[in-house]
Symmetry: C2
Subunit: 244 residues, 2 copies
């Protein structure tokens, strides 16, 4: 059985303050943990797993420590409503605070606060080959367990940078900035993009005025029915589906 | 202050059994409640609201009863983490159990179990003008508070029918059935659809084998990056963005 201190320690990684202090985060469930273990760039420091998971997965490579736990232990350390066999403690990624935007598609997120949406956006970017995302500092935390879970492993492949979005966009030269809004150019009439920054706005307020001013082109997903807006992650999917 | 019995009654509407017994459901927040109040087809029986909401919205039309409540009352009856001014009790919709598929686009959901995803799918359908959805009986409950919230009002406009999906699809004649899978025809090479049934599969398992057999055409969102799959609601967005 895991010691009380150990359980407490893992539980505290649910909080941003402690995660950042320890430079770690938590990932749960066989699918996600497997994907992280298989990604070279990711350092999984410890895996807490039920016996059945350990038997299935054998000895783990490199420096990853495996700790066998009971169902009861798992219940205590899991952040999920339905704990699922295994929890990994993973090192946070190095960020060098710079992104090259030239020749690439970059997503810019303005105040995406719902962890599930944020994770889904990262996963969607990964599907469409978009490798980098800049976020305003008030977006959800990348290492929030709900974000991590909803990226479904894409967290290991998409570079995410937190910035003062206004400042960052202002500093971008010689590159087009697209803003997804309710009344702009119909994306279905546009050519594929090979480079550019695409801004996605907050779930209920859209893109803030000071950010919107920095865009060169306003773009829109044509509406055929009556919904007032689309979910932010769905909007990212439709836009990338058309434009990349 | 609301009576204990009243609070208890509203709280029980969080549970499917009681919702179905009373033929009611709950909707929360100014935006959603406003949209439901403005939709003719929807019957809002009662509105529990803070004084500020009542002043802003004035007398409600028709048979809707308005009950002024305190912040403390709201906390007690709300299903949200952050209660938001107003809660409406709404009559469940009549369903005549039949849908005409001829000349229309119909979504068919196979075991979509996450309430947020399900709600987002309804909202996305509404954006793209898809007016009807059939669901396998093991999909999330339409009146689950999380589903209701994430439809953002589209619940009032999209017809949702629960069926034995295998039986229902088998009974469809003279209409094409499309299944979204990982290896099928690239949707970006297809013409717009004016009629057809589009099947979307479970978040982690995809479309079940017995359902997949009933499809005429397998379709795919081309992948350019490395994510294993897309979120179900995002997939609906991309597919409808291309095909309708």
């Amino acid at each position: 059985m895991l010691s009380k201190a150990k359980v407490k320690y893992i539980q505290t990684l649910g909080q941003k303050k402690f995660r950042d202090q320890e430079k770690l985060f938590i990932a749960e469930g066989p699918k996600l943990v497997k994907e992280l273990l298989e990604t070279n760039a990711v350092q999984v420091t410890q895996v807490y797993a039920l016996k059945e998971w350990i038997i299935e997965n054998g000895k783990l490579p490199g420096k990853t420590e495996t700790i066998e736990i009971t169902e009861a232990d798992l219940e205590r350390i899991s952040q999920l409503t339905t704990p699922n066999k295994v929890i990994a403690i993973v090192r946070q990624f190095d960020t060098d605070n710079r992104l090259l935007t030239k020749g690439k598609i970059t997503l810019a997120l303005d105040t995406i606060q719902d962890p599930g949406n944020f994770g889904s956006i990262i996963r969607t970017a990964d599907w469409f080959g978009v490798e980098q995302i800049v976020c305003s500092n008030d977006c959800a935390d990348l290492y929030n367990p709900k974000v991590v879970q909803s990226t479904m492993g894409s967290i290991a492949r998409v570079k995410v940078l937190y910035v003062d979005l206004k400042e960052w966009l202002t500093a971008q030269k010689d590159i087009r900035i697209y803003a997804t809004v309710l009344e702009g150019q119909d994306i279905t009439t546009m050519k594929k993009l090979h480079e550019g920054i695409i801004i996605i706005g907050n779930e209920s307020k859209g893109i803030s005025e000071e950010i919107l001013k920095l865009a060169n082109v306003k773009i829109t997903i044509p509406k055929k029915g009556k919904a007032e807006s689309l979910n932010a992650a769905v909007a990212v999917g439709v836009v990338l589906g058309w434009l990349v």
